[in-house]
Symmetry: C2
Subunit: 362 residues, 2 copies
DNA sequence: CCTTCATATGACATCGATGTCATGACACCG
DNA sequence: CGGTGTCATGACATCGATGTCATATGAAGG
């Protein structure tokens, strides 16, 4: 591969002049510039980043560590592919800053992280982003250098800069929308509470109920570790069965995520219950392969992982340029509710009618 | 960040000696080695790749171009996420060769590819892999240099080295298995025939029928562009409806992919047909989020994108090391059939019974 | 016409790691 | 004891781009 020396020789100028043409540095005569540019094209010259970066002491590279790529089993997981979309967002945010993103994969083994960090440091990355596959607390090894670090989809105890989803608010927004649609008996089937999302989302559910002055009825609650191969579906079945037998059964089942909602569809069908006429179902994630393809399409709330990545990228650029190193609080990201046919829109007047009916039949 | 000069000064030796310690090059006295190693630890020294690579004229970097990250809409697409798993495989294959993979994203715009290639060349990548999001023919700009290139999940007209899924064989394997389970009337709902997979898979279906001496009945065939928002589901419904009204209706519906199968579940339910007792459903992809969560779980065939990526990585390493530049034919990759509850295992004796029944009721 | 200054260009050093060659200190052999 | 070889180490050049400083050329101003 040719160098500026080759170009200089061919153009009959000094290497420095070629450099000036490349960087629009100092002044270059018009004719000279032409000659040089022609020579570069002829040789198919491409500037060597290594040499450039050695001189400039700036790599223009940002390192990104993730399990996005290798954590997954073949074609899927429980959660959708959050980290993937985060990575996409990061790329988008950084590409506009002229940075090259180097992605490394933990291959599902957290113990490889230090090694990956070393590789990145050897490439003299200007910043690092760690992307977690689901909302969680992590504990990364301290960075030896003062290399800026941003955590995406996770936080740590040291107060490292981070960007995380606003699970609580998202769930509250969805439940608010259900309430606005006239629903008053809303059940909540939550994920394992040992996950951050499994804790925050139920809180959001509760927030929305409280706001609307609705009672918080524990009979409408269930914790379901639904993706356990055997016990999961059974547990889900039992929970739903229990709720439907209630004196005042729920009119909507709010699920911990879209995949759980898909399983709930199957269960309700087996029970002979029609969605949404007899009971509504709502998800969480807007996992489109599921939400849009299910029949009827699923009402859910979107956690914009993409935007989360963009924010993380922007935050890193701030740190690199030395701005606002002070603000320690995590950036929270929320997203829109997608209203689809899996939940009926109950008009307030209808609600009254139902109530009246209920009173009458008593 | 410290350099070997810093380390050398601290250890009281020459930079070259430090280099020797780093690379286990020439002989180094035991005491000297200790001193140097202590100094490196103390300074938190990390070798600069830029300087190293400039001298060595070897970057140790492989470039990977994909739409894996940005092509996707939020959380999903039709096909699952093939390219993602391919990328994972590539990483796995190359990491064992000590290469760093630099991933760049087309952000869904093919016109950005030349720019990305330039960026990679400026990093002096030793090889390039292009990963397509679905099995297709592509036309990349010619690489100026003699940089090795491997196409993954796609081929081009120039005969560039490539690794692609063996769609035809995979579909044949699945249909063979259905036949082995006793099914004789197998319908095929195919994807758009303008996609490579939409052509090869039906061929595989036909291969398997021919092998078993079963008739190729066009009444059991339909092309369905199922993911068209409006017409798609309707078309699918009509096709299934038509087949079920046949004199001798199919006992299994073989779908172009798992997502189509999910939609077929919904349609069959609406038609009041029970899966798998009244009719079986088979998919393609083993898109686990769907195949395992559907009720009943979906019989499908796995296209091991992961392995495909590994093969692509290995192929590239061959090219880089100069081996077997000759073999032009694409590498084909196949995978296992996953037999699940969506198709009944019809014993040969039962088949006879059915036939008899049919004869009797006539 | 000479000074002054902007313009256009080049010589040279530099970034950090490492290949090449040289040198000094021993050890072993005849 | 001199010669030959091995071991341990360092001096120096080099990779390619670019920052610093110097120089040459011509134009404008007095």
């Amino acid at each position: 591969m040719s160098t500026i020396y080759d170009v200089a020789r061919l153009a009959g100028v000094s290497p420095k002049t070629v450099s000036r043409v490349l960087n629009a540095d100092g002044p270059v005569g018009e004719k000279t510039r032409d000659t040089v540019e022609r020579a570069m094209r002829e040789l198919g010259y491409v500037r060597s980043n290594a040499a450039r970066m050695m001189r400039a002491q700036r790599s223009g590279i940002v390192g990104l560590i993730t399990g996005a790529i290798s954590t997954k089993n073949q074609l899927s997981t429980q959660q959708g592919l959050p980290d993937l979309y985060i990575v996409q967002g990061v790329q988008r945010a950084l590409e506009s800053s002229g940075m090259t993103v180097m992605i490394a994969d933990t291959a599902g083994r957290k113990d490889r992280v230090p090694h990956l960090i070393d590789t990145f440091l050897s490439h003299r990355v200007e910043g690092l982003i760690y992307v977690a596959e689901y909302h969680q607390e992590v504990n990364l090894p301290e960075l030896p250098d003062d290399t800026p670090l941003v955590l995406a989809n996770c936080i740590d105890a040291r107060g490292t800069a981070s960007v995380v989803p606003d699970d609580r608010r998202l769930q509250a927004d969805l439940v608010r929308r259900l309430i606005a649609a006239g629903h008053r008996r809303i059940a909540y089937l939550s994920l394992r509470p040992d996950m951050v999302a499994g804790k925050l989302r139920p809180q959001g559910y509760r927030d929305a109920l409280a706001e609307a002055g609705l009672p918080y009825d524990t009979a409408l609650l269930a914790n379901v570790d639904f993706d356990q191969p055997e016990t999961g579906p059974q547990l889900l079945w039992d929970s739903i069965d229990r709720m439907l037998r209630l004196d005042r059964p729920p009119t909507v089942l709010c699920c911990g995520n879209d995949q759980m909602a898909m399983m709930v569809y199957g269960i309700l069908r087996s029970m002979g219950r029609k969605v949404p006429d007899e009971i509504g179902v709502a998800g969480f994630d807007n996992y489109r392969a599921i939400a849009e393809t299910l029949y009827p399409p699923l009402t859910t709330v979107e956690l914009p992982y993409n935007a989360l990545g963009v924010r993380a990228g922007e935050r890193l650029m701030q740190l690199i340029s030395g701005e606002s190193r002070d603000d320690q609080s995590p950036v929270l990201v929320a997203g829109p509710v997608h209203w689809r046919a899996s939940v009926t829109e109950v008009r307030p007047e209808n609600v009254v009618t139902f109530r009246t009916l209920r009173e009458e039949t008593k």
